[in-house]
Amino acid sequence: MTTETPPRRFPVGTHPSADDPRILVHDDYEAFEPVPPYPPRTEREAEFYTLGEGELLLNVGPQHPSTHGVLRVVLKLEGERVVDIDPVLGYLHRGVEKLCENADYHQTISQVDPLEYISSLFCEWTPVLAYEKLLDVEVPRRAEYIRVLSAELNRIASHALFMGWFALDLGGLTPILYSFIERDEIVEMLAALTGQRMLFNYFRIGGVNGDLNHEFMSRLGDWMSRATTQIEANIGLLNENEILVRRAAGMGVMDAETALRWCMTGPNLRATGVPYDIRRAHPYSVYPELEFDIPTKTEGDSLARYLLRAEEIKQSLRIIDQCLERMPDGPIMAKLPRLLRPRPGRAWAAIEGPRGLYGVYAISDGTDQPFRLKIHDPSFLHLGAVGMLLPGNLLADTMAIMASLDPVMGGVDK
């Protein structure tokens, strides 16, 4: 064994690409730095990849254990303190909007399903709502109630998963498995209703795919009888934990004005004190008939975002109770032709999902395919705020702050 470091495979200046001025990699040593192998394209990039005294670049992802999907972030660190970040998106890009524009209206539903794979029903609901506006159809009331019921269940599943992941990113091993119990029960009962555990493919233009069945109802009744106590217990497991509270309080603070400027919606906005909920602000479906509160917090930090989601779970349970109570009889599908050709026109539909505003802007040109479909996803906007929240924090908090905004990479990259 020698004391010398191993010889460089390409001594400086001899790499095959050394003559090409567009490629900056002269040496395999430089290949280890997370610097893009091309000259900076923008001023911002040039500024970011020029290192100051005592700074270092740290590549996080896309295979990092806790980036919640395939997000890649280049962090500029000074010691352990984050100075600046450069997110690199697009690892999960499928071109969903274009796929939808080249298929007929019904096929949109299965295309948008995997966008936010944790809360698929909301991804289905938005284009369905937009197409219903284009077609000007009346959805049967029973179908609307079933939609609200299943979507609220999905919201609880999504929030339960969030709470587990958040604790896991702060280093707690156990809560994720407890919250997976809730999620698994909900997912199983939705599977009994829709046929799938994750990508439900359940909503249809003008109604839903199947009526409530016995297995779903028995599972739901069984779970509802103990849901409140179980969820209370799971929340208490974390809320009363001194270490978690001390870490999450004051972490990633955002005031209401900033949140509005960054187009935040959903729990992340309500955690800053703005009581904006689309279910109340721009009511859709049967939400005007249902009683529920819009919980808000004023701190705007990670703890507030976490506690707010715990509150929302309880409100969702209230909504489910009312849905079961008022469930009307009747058909579950409107009468529609098999091949849909809406009149030429435009429609915008927005719903309140577990992460915020899910919107779809659809343009019809009178054929059987949408002319243009623009999908608005909250995860993408929330992830944008990370660049504002992270600098100044420690490396230990980066993942937890990201997790507290609850982005899903499928929706970010579309």
Partner: protein, 450 residues
């Protein structure tokens, strides 16, 4: 020549191995016997003259070897207990209740590729796990496991323990620096900062105890805790604050939750061990669990009475003279398993009609062994000192290890600045206060008695 090579070719692989091994062993045995005959008395005298050195070498070798199974047991414990706390099943496939799981784990490490990343420093990279594991194992050299069962006993044992235990940070820094990976570097630096900070409250928390004990020898400290035979003599009752500080600081020293920032997988992947694979990673892995065992053991030794039982245990000598029994003893030894097995098997076979006779025999044999083993343990416990000592020592140590595992299953991780603030703003002043109060109490008591 041809005949020889043809014979060699006709041998199977085990045959070839035997053909090499038998002559080799014969030659070695003859050499050993000749050496012993010629230099035996001289060698024996050499050993007797350097008994301390021989003892040291033997104890180090034994400790290095026994810590692998201990690490296996602690790993299995952690997996199973955290699984139960997580409402999972945990390892269950390999061996009864998954007990052989960590053995398979170790075999897997042996079979993995031994990998040194490009541009890593090969020498430092290779030696880092060695340093970490050997310091962990060597710091156990002074632990008194039972009366008369210890590696070394000298009057600076506690100082030696802290000095060698603190060397771990060198190995972690080596691993972090040599890996040529920024995550590893961050992990190594975190561990350096953390261990250096917590070394101070850790050491200060036992100074009060040392003032009370008047010695640094761990053996003497354990002896002092068993004067009356009851657990009130333990230092935990005279230094409760010291125990608390020591336990917290030791948790941080061993990089355990909630102070496990050096290998926070949500932040820096696996810290200093990110680039390690195969047996090198296994040694880091073992060292972590050996450290858990050792800090539990030293807490038990210092504060929880070491190998002393919590209550006085009757000690008798049962004198049996085998010569008096003559042939009767031989018959007894030969027949006891047979008769015992039949005695235990008979009720099982007779009372349950569906039981096969051979099942009843197997169960009877197992029951007989359990009962005889229990009786033998009881006999050994009351009449052999170190059996009782080892029993209590291992029991207390594993109870403490359970606490560490419990904390891992329950608590999230603290942030590095909170960790440092806790060490310097809370633990250090409280440790100093504890030291001050203890010293004052000792002086006042001296004055009062004088």
């Amino acid at each position: 020549m041809t005949a020889l090579s043809r014979t060699w070719d006709r041998l199977t692989l085990p045959g070839k191995a035997l053909a090499i091994l038998i002559p080799l062993l014969l030659a070695l045995t003859i050499g050993l016997v000749v050496t012993l005959i010629l230099f035996g008395p001289f060698l024996w005298q050499l050993i007797l003259d350097n008994l301390e050195i021989v003892r040291f070498v033997l104890a180090s070798a034994i400790l290095l070897v026994i810590f692998i199974p201990i690490a296996f047991i602690v790993i299995y414990m952690e997996m199973k207990i955290i699984a139960l706390m997580n409402l999972r099943i945990g390892p269950e496939r390999v061996g009864p209740w998954g007990t052989l799981f960590s053995v398979v784990h170790g075999l897997k490490f042996l079979l993995k590729e031994d990998f040194i990343p490009t541009r890593a420093d090969p020498i430092v990279f290779t030696w880092a796990p060695v340093v970490v594991f050997s310091t962990a194992a060597l710091s156990a050299l002074v632990l008194p496991f039972a009366p008369g069962l210890y590696g070394q006993d000298f009057n600076l044992a506690l100082l030696y323990f802290f000095a060698v235990g603190g060397m771990t940070v060198v190995g972690l820094l080596m691993g972090g620096w040599a890996s040529f990976n920024k995550y590893s570097l961050l992990g190594g630096l975190r561990s350096a900062a953390q261990i250096v900070s917590y070394e101070i409250p850790l050491t200060l928390s036992v100074v009060g105890l040392v003032i009370l004990a008047g010695t640094l020898s761990l053996n003497t400290i354990v002896m002092q805790q068993g004067v009356s035979g009851w657990f009130v003599d333990w230092y935990a009752f005279r230094q409760p604050l010291g125990l608390l500080i020591f336990f917290l600081a030791a948790t941080a020293e061993a990089n355990r939750t909630p102070f496990d920032m050096t290998e926070a997988d949500q932040e820096i992947v696996a810290g200093f061990a990110t680039e390690y694979s195969g047996m090198r990673f296994a040694f880091f892995f073992f060292a972590e669990y050996v450290n858990v065992f050792i800090i539990s053991a030293i807490t038990v030794v210092l504060f929880l009475g070491g190998w002393q039982a919590p209550f006085p245990v009757p000690h008798f000598e049962i004198h049996v003279d085998p010569g008096q029994l003559g042939m009767g003893l031989l018959f007894l030894v030969a027949l006891a398993p047979l008769v015992g097995t039949l005695l235990f098997a008979a009720p099982i076979y007779l009372l349950r009609s569906r039981t096969r006779w051979w099942v009843a025999l197997i169960v009877g044999f197992v029951l007989f062994n359990v009962v005889v083993g229990g009786l033998a343990f009881l006999w050994a416990y009351v009449s052999i000192d170190w059996v009782a000592g080892l029993f209590w020592f291992v029991g207390k140590t594993f109870a403490l290890i359970f606490v560490f595992v419990w904390m891992r299953g329950t608590l999230p991780r603290v942030r590095s600045d909170q960790l440092m603030a806790f060490a310097w703003k809370w633990l250090l002043p409280v440790a100093l206060l504890n030291l001050f109060v203890t010293a004052l109490a000792v002086i006042v008591l001296d004055v009062v008695q004088a």
